[in-house]
Each structure stands twice: as structure tokens, then as C-alpha cells.
Amino acid sequence: MKNDSFIIGGKTLSSRLLVGSGKYSSNAIIPEILRASDSEVITVALRRIDLRASEENILSHIPKEAVLMPNTSGARTADEAVRIARLARAAGCGNWIKIEVISDNRYLMPDNQETIKATEILAAEGFEVFPYMSPDLMAAKRMVDAGACAIMPLGAPIGTNRGLKTKELVQILIEEISLPIIVDAGIGRPSEAAEAMEMGASAVLVNTAIATANDPIMMAYAFGRAVEAGRCAYLSGLGALSEYAQASSPLTGFLHD
């Protein structure tokens, strides 16, 4: 869309859909997912390699035009997140980092407090910091002050496909926080991605809903269209809600008395 540039972390993107790289049946599908969805940003995790087995390198499946957003998954504290971020940057694929600090294994709820700490340290080291967080306005404000370049509130717990359970809290962030809001986690359907965009989110990140669909490539396409439609709807200005019917043609001149 012209005049709707999405500038984030020092880059200009033409798609407001970010995708994750997990749960695919094979990493070879990743370029198809990016192509079908038009997404330009993909998140990856950092893990110890298995010295006994030669594992394939996921980077070989990610087109070089794609923007890599490494995450700090595995970190349970700010210090662990900082350590992972520094290692990720050493790969030479850019300075974006998505902070994930999680010590709750059932719901994978992010630790806002540790995330704020990690944001401050990493922003000072020149990273473009994208904190994944539980939508709390004060925590978001602290992340802004700490130097984040966007805020990534969850819609529902990771992998649950439950949709925008945190809708009203996310709405508050969209209204009150000056940075881009990227709804991340829990989006289970293209309609939910559209819903987040209609609310005024700057972008959404989707992984499980695409990767675990029967046809991930078609689902990636659907999400791409949904994010565009939702953004268009937001820019067009949605009509007001009404309690009673509002007829679209005059209630006179009927072909009857």
C-alpha cells in the first residue's frame, strides 16, 4: 500500500506479517512460506549443536533477502537473554533481537521484569530490541524507556492458537504506547491476524497457526492476505457500531401502501 510504510528496527518492510521458523515438517518449506505469505521477517532460535550429528543449517533455507530476528528462547533470566543475544549477533546476520525470557513451562508466559532488564542492557549495546511480553501497560512503558524499538505483546500463550485473548490489554498498548505494537503468540486464524491489524497493531507474528495447518503454504498465503486486509480496514476507518438496524435504503416509496 502506498504511503503506509512500515519502518522498524532501522528497516523499511512492505509486509506486516512476521513468521516463526519452528514446527515445520521440514525446513525446506521455509522459502515457500515466506513467498506465499509475503513475509520478510523470520524468527530463529539459538541452540547448542549436536557434536555427534551433523545438523542441517537452517540459514541455508532462509533467503538472504529475509530479515533474521533471532530470539532468546531458552533464557530464564535477563542475563541469559543478554548472553544469547550477544552470541546471536556474532553470527553476523544483523542486530535485531527478540527478547524471550520465560521460566514458566506450562503457559510459557514471558517474564516482563527480566525482559525490561534485558532490553535496557541490549539497547545500550546497539541492538534493535523487540521484547516479547505479557500485555501490561506499565511494563510496556518501561520497555520503551529502556530503549526497545517495538513492543510484542502476546495474544494468547505460545502455540495455543487461542486468538486475541488479551485483546483489550493489547488495545490499551496500541493507544498509549508510541512504539509499534507487534502482536505475537496465540494468533490461530487469519481472521485473528486481521482483527489485530484492524485494532491498529503495526504487525503480527505467527508461527504455530501456519506451521501446523494441514497446508502450511496455503495458510501462509491466507495470513498474508489477512494482515493486508486488516491493515487496509484500519487505515480506511471502520464504520461505527450501532445498537439498532440502520437501513441502507429509504423507508419510503415501497411498492405497497
Binding site: K23, S73, R86
Partner: protein
């Protein structure tokens, strides 16, 4: 004989090795990994100049699909 810990496991080296040589003998593609040596991130251009010493801790990581799950 040098013993170090690599990715949390004990590894015995027959003779003096640099990080670069260690990676090569393990058959690891240097372009796909990042490394930490004794808690410090070491970039690829430093690997050939770092000697592996007794009780060194080395972490060798690579990007993989996914995130927290």
C-alpha cells in the same frame, strides 16, 4: 592431553588445538555456528588465534527453527 567441556560435555583433545582446528576436526561448518569460549563470545576471525586449554568451557551454537515451546 587436554580436557575441556564443550556444550556441557567433557571432550578430550589429544594435543594442542586452536578453536578453529577443533571445529575443523569435528567436521563442523564454521559458517553455521557461533561460539563462546570461557563465557566470552568469540567471532570467527578470532578462532584461529585461541588455544584450547585444560578446563576450558566452549559453547558451540547454531540457529535452529522455533523459539520457546
Amino acid at each position: 592431553m587436554i580436557q575441556m567441556v564443550v556444550n556441557g560435555e567433557k571432550v578430550i583433545l589429544e594435543h594442542a588445538t586452536t578453536l578453529a582446528m577443533f571445529i575443523e576436526t569435528q567436521g563442523i561448518n564454521p559458517l553455521s555456528i557461533v561460539m563462546e569460549h570461557n563465557g566470552v563470545v568469540v567471532k570467527q576471525d578470532q578462532w584461529a588465534s585461541i588455544e584450547c586449554c585444560e578446563n576450558d568451557t566452549v559453547e558451540i551454537l547454531a540457529f535452529m527453527g522455533g523459539g520457546s515451546k
